[in-house]
Symmetry: C2
Subunit: 463 residues, 2 copies
């Protein structure tokens, strides 16, 4: 084996460390570093990776990067090269099945670890997906299109507009549903902005991702994808939805409204939660889509969709913390921001020293809206004098819009107008349930548990 093969992809200090300890890629090693001890497989790296880390695949399935200069000792336990490639099979066509388009933006949906390079690569062509998740062919005729391949934290206005445009184009071309593969980090942000940019769609628009890639035994990738395809192909719910793992079991997934969902756990599969409301539906292979409510927008036969893909990026979120100084607000105004969403404490509060800065912001033409960092519950600025003072300064309460959703909506509204009254009117006019007239009292508590809780809920609400 040549050195290039033995230290495949490694350069600089990382390669030197491997040479120093006499180990190469595909060796099962015990490694001691200043950060701790690790047992795992030395993975090859791809050419664009940094040159400072040795990457091990641990037995848990996680990859860990260890700084070369922190390595104290490495002992090889033998070599065990894995060969893996995605088994590609031709996706069968069935004229009687619904047509679904899967738009890819990035993320690890139905991905596989590529043991040749150590990279996680997504299975993406219909043939690759069929090879990985054959159940898809029982559900729909699938077309795939890769729009982007970015970590979701790097999604921004350009990608949101591009994605919305692609969704509208696919709907007009006649598909029965859309699935969007997306990294989970900002899936809820994109779901919110799509809810504003693609209005009154006639078919489901279903966002999906996975918290654990398919090379791990506990992966949620295949199940989430099957649930999303089921929803897009067959469900009656023509809204922007997030389709992810249910609260505690792999027996069902949940469909969350694009404007009322948030990622609430950094690593759990059950990370997405409907906030201030209840999810729209359960979905499972056995029962299909089972609505938890009746007030959703219904699927239509026509192909009409209103694409309204604009975004003014001079918008930011100010997340309040006690002791905050007014310079945080002043800085945004000075730098030309045109919209600020405050995530205040309690019913929508910030400290007194911020008031003059907010006044200066409003006077400078900045549109300032208040949300709550408690996430659940409404802004209520009429209760205390302090809230009324803030409103007198021109700060507008945004009811129970989530801070992230208010940010997306304000950017979208400012893409249309900067007229103060019109901005307020548009912000206050719900487009896609981003503000709800009330939060169900049990929405805060219910559906956090397992299937028994869900069954109780359904029974209580006679669904």
């Amino acid at each position: 084996m040549s050195g290039d093969e033995r230290w495949k992809g490694y350069r600089g200090p990382a390669r030197e460390a491997l040479i120093r300890f006499g180990v190469g890629v595909w060796e099962d090693v015990w490694l001691r570093s200043r950060k701790g001890e690790f047992r795992g497989l030395v993975l090859p790296r791809n050419e664009t990776a940094d040159d400072r880390h040795v990457v091990l695949k641990l037995e848990t399935g996680y990859n860990v990067g260890i700084a070369a200069d922190s390595i104290l000792d490495v002992v090889s336990k033998g070599r065990r090269e894995a060969h893996y490639h995605i088994p590609e099979r031709e996706f069968p066509t069935d004229p009687d099945k619904p047509r679904v388009t899967l738009l890819g933006t990035g993320g690890t949906i139905a991905s596989r670890l590529d043991y040749r390079t150590g990279a996680v690569i997504p299975a993406f062509s219909p043939g690759e997906l069929y090879g990985s998740v054959p159940e898809l062919a029982d559900i729909c005729n699938l077309r795939t299109e890769k729009l982007y391949a970015v970590f979701s934290e790097n999604m921004g206005p350009e990608q949101w507009i591009g994605l919305a445009t692609a969704v509208a184009r696919e709907i007009e071309s006649g598909v029965d549903g859309i699935v969007i593969g997306h990294g989970t980090d900002t899936m809820h942000h994109t779901a919110a902005v799509l809810s504003f940019m693609v209005q009154d769609p006639p078919v489901p628009i279903v966002m999906v991702g996975s918290q654990r890639s398919s090379d791990r035994p506990s992966s949620d990738a295949a199940l989430n994808l099957i649930h999303a395809a089921l929803t897009a192909a067959r469900s009656d719910i023509a809204e922007v939805l997030v389709c992810m793992f249910g609260p505690t079991s792999d027996r069902y997934g949940l469909l969350h409204r694009g404007t009322r969902v948030r990622k609430m756990h950094s690593s759990s599969r059950s990370t997405f939660r409907t906030i201030g409301d209840i999810p729209v539906a359960l979905v499972s292979r056995e029962e299909g889509v089972r609505p938890l409510r009746r007030d959703y927008r219904k699927r239509r036969k026509d192909r009409r969709v209103r694409l309204d893909a604009v975004f003014d990026d001079r918008v930011g979120i100010v997340y309040y913390y006690p002791g905050m100084k007014p310079d945080v607000v002043d800085a945004l105004v000075e730098r030309g921001y045109r919209g600020i969403v405050i995530a205040g404490t309690g019913l929508g509060h910030v400290n007194k020293p911020l008031y003059p800065a907010l006044r200066r912001a409003v006077d400078a033409g900045v549109h300032v809206f208040m949300t709550v960092q408690t996430l659940w519950g409404y802004v209520q600025m009429y209760v205390y004098d302090t809230g009324r003072d803030l409103m007198d300064l021109g700060v507008v309460p945004a009811a129970n819009m989530l801070p992230e959703v208010a940010y997306m909506k304000l950017g979208w509204v400012l893409g249309h107008t900067h007229d103060r009254d019109e901005v307020r009117r548009l912000m206050r006019t719900p487009v896609a349930n981003e503000v709800t007239p009330r939060e169900p009292p049990d929405g805060y508590l219910v559906l956090q548990g397992g299937l028994p809780e869900v069954e109780r809920f359904l029974k209580k609400h006679r669904m």
Copy 2:
């Protein structure tokens, strides 16, 4: 009745509106404004109130302020003056009972609506509290001391240091427990900073407040106060705790660790939640304090406490949103901030354009730590190249510290040192369980429901 009495406290446009429609304070009115229709009692105002709002007490118990210039019509339904004053009774002394000091900072704990002025005034002297909540005398000998009277969003470094100092002084003077009355908005922030400033206390330090003032039938004020007094007087848990309403019933309260708690609902009584862990204990009148875990710091007989009350206020939280531009970070550096806590997406991510700004921040001597805005779960920056890149820039992962807690800890640490290695060492050394070695898998899901869930949990964990 003189005009001064009839429009008590009203000035300017608000007074003119009352005169125009021929109604005065203590009149039960039907009021139509451009914002909607209201039925309620016109409350008098105090002299410092603004002059633009008429305040009604609605039948729900909420007060609502209505802008005078939006009022279209007011019809009086008659007058019904309420006379209320807090029944003051001498607090009985019993030498066999524990001694508790209640320190007041503000908030609506055991408050009453003062119908003479319309203001919510706290019952605060021992005699007033005894008159309001006589059960307190069965629990302890109470001393009260009013440190501040501020809305909790206005608490800042000066108040935190003053409060910590008062707590230490009371402990050294020999009390058996401390109760701190605090507004709920930032109760968890103050609980976190106290956990760092008052170390290794020998007695319980219990923060308490209420979500609904005692003039409302659904008030949690008295119950929370009783629970807090019980905990301070009798419990074995010598930590900084938040004592608030349990998840779904008024049968018990929960004791949350000061560093692992967050306000999660803007108006519900069940607003405080332990995040990434399970609460320390249940507390009820019937059963007293019932621990849910065994790893708490135990009460001691000695009076030793380590007061370490410092805070460098040149610290801020940057709450990441997709599309964020680097100028947000640059602005803090330029304005002389010395510490930044990022609340990143997913496992601790921000977009690529922020990297150079973070590099500039670190090069300028700013200490940058990463937390997760999912609230539950850990930062894990070893998993993706992007995380490793951020660490190479000098961004330090803060494990599962909540963003607010990391902010408080960083301000406290920078009060001691600005040496880079020492700051990192202190941030990584847990003081009061602000970082935990693991999050219980059921902590995310359990104890969100009612007593049956709690009972199941206790049984499962054999407690």
